[in-house]
């Protein structure tokens, strides 16, 4: 979809973004603006380009062509689908990501995430879900203006998903801009303000949540919603 999408109070603007690897275009003609203070959800099948798009928008990967205008790196954070854990304790990991966080605030975060008993456990020995929660609370504690989340609920149980969803809605209400990918349509309906549907490296549809789920305009959108 080459047509430019504009959101109000845009925080990121991407124009004609293409990303190629080994001569193959993995992202093509991406034109979009991301609304400030909103949750924008990236949907799409595996390999559609959701993670790649987030990494390009975050500035981790240089696009082969096109232009991205965004806020500085200092105001952004990203939580990866497979959390990157350092060889240090959960508490030390938290301090590494959020060095300015006060001790009592850190305790609060660990308590809210149900990780109080795991403070001194080596981060790499935490379960997948615990690692996911740890990386998320550390990122949230830095209070970034823009937060990228790559399938943040992939390894989580229902209780943890509730925790993550309520924290994300709270952060959004406090003014944080969140761009996240997921495969769960219910979660997208619950959290998202905007939906970007990716298909084969292109933006197939970009719409407000209500419009996307009630009357998708693209064939890709209709097909995507036809799956249970």
């Amino acid at each position: 979809m080459g047509k430019q999408k504009i959101a109000k109070n845009e925080l990121i603007t991407a124009r004609n973004i293409t990303f190629e690897r080994s001569g193959q275009a993995l992202l093509k003609d991406i034109n979009l603006s991301i609304a400030s203070g909103m949750i924008t959800m990236l949907l799409g099948h595996n390999g559609a380009g959701k993670t790649l798009l987030m990494q390009v928008l975050h500035g981790l990967l240089e696009p082969s062509a096109g232009e991205i205008r965004t806020i500085g790196r200092a105001g952004q954070k990203m939580v990866f689908q497979k959390p990157v854990m350092l060889r240090r304790t959960a508490s030390q990991y938290f301090d590494f990501v959020c060095p300015a966080c006060l001790p009592h605030k850190k305790q609060d975060w660990f308590h809210k995430a149900g990780l109080t008993g795991r403070v001194n456990t080596p981060a790499r020995l935490l379960s997948g879900g615990e690692q996911q929660k740890l990386s998320l609370i550390a990122a949230l504690a830095t209070q970034p203006d823009l937060l990228f989340l790559d399938e943040p609920c992939a390894n989580l149980d229902f209780e943890a998903i509730d925790f993550v969803e309520s924290e994300l809605l709270g952060a959004r209400d406090a003014g944080m801009t969140i761009i996240m990918s997921c495969h769960n349509k219910n979660q997208a309906q619950k959290l998202a303000d905007y939906i970007i549907l990716m298909r084969r490296g292109r933006v197939a549809e970009y719409a407000e949540k209500e419009h996307f789920f009630s009357s998708p305009t693209s064939e890709a959108g209709k097909e995507y919603l036809s799956y249970n």
Partner: protein, 235 residues
């Protein structure tokens, strides 16, 4: 010579505090530890830079360091000999047949090993952590320091491997050191000399001492690794 005779001689030499033996042991440790320390001082940063940066000549440097891994110590000894002999480009240093020459030879022997092993470790860690570091907006120095901290277990192992290679080599030290009693005679060159003199029991005894030193060093390394691991496990 019975099977146990070398062991008896080794123990007698050790517990009688034989001056010649201890001189040889201390010189061996001094030469090898200085060479290893210097090689790691250069090798670890070079390995880290090769893993983290892409620049012209990087591949060539990697190929050279890996090729030099297979270089026989005696060839390195010969090269150093040519360099520091009176007519050589470094002849003015006047260090031929001194412990300094042996340290230089072992340094050149170990440097490629420390570069290659460090590069391998840092490349793996860097590929795991690079996007994370970029996302956090870490500066260059913080990235390097964090990588060093993350690689601490492997760096202990690299140190031990390099030390093992240094203390057990003979070709280079005998060429540039000359195996001079009380000056440049180390354990390996002493073993070679005693064997050539037919003093097999004494040579074997020295070999046992060398093995004991290697065992102690590896035991220390193992305990250090375990304590670091325990510290990480218990927080």
């Amino acid at each position: 010579m019975s099977f146990f005779e070398p062991f008896n001689i080794a123990l007698q030499l050790l517990f009688s505090f034989d001056a010649e033996l201890y001189d040889v042991i201390f010189l061996s440790l001094q030469v090898s530890s200085t060479a290893v320390f210097s090689a790691l001082l250069f090798g670890i940063p070079i390995g880290a830079v090769l893993a983290m940066k892409r620049f012209f000549g990087r591949s060539a440097l990697l190929v050279i360091s890996k090729t030099m891994l297979g270089m026989p110590p005696v060839v390195i000894g010969l090269l150093v000999y040519v360099l520091i002999s009176r007519s050589g480009p470094l002849g003015f240093l006047d260090i031929l047949y001194t412990p300094q020459a042996m340290m230089l030879a072992q340094f050149i022997l170990i440097l490629p090993l420390s570069i290659a092993l460090s590069h391998q470790i840092f490349e793996k860690l860097h590929s795991e952590l690079n996007l994370f570091f970029m996302s956090l907006g870490l500066g260059e120095l913080k990235r390097v320091l964090t990588l060093l901290c993350e690689a601490r277990y492997e760096l202990i192992t690299i140190t031990m491997v390099c030390f093992g290679r240094a203390i057990s080599e003979i070709g280079a030290v005998i060429l540039v050191g000359g195996n001079i009693k009380y000056l440049t005679r180390v354990m390996t060159s002493s073993i070679a000399l005693e064997t050539s003199k037919g003093n097999i029991a004494f040579a074997l005894a020295l070999g046992i001492v060398l093995m004991l030193i290697a065992l102690l060093i590896n035991l220390f390394s193992h305990m250090l690794s375990q304590s670091v691991l325990k510290e990480a496990t218990n927080g």
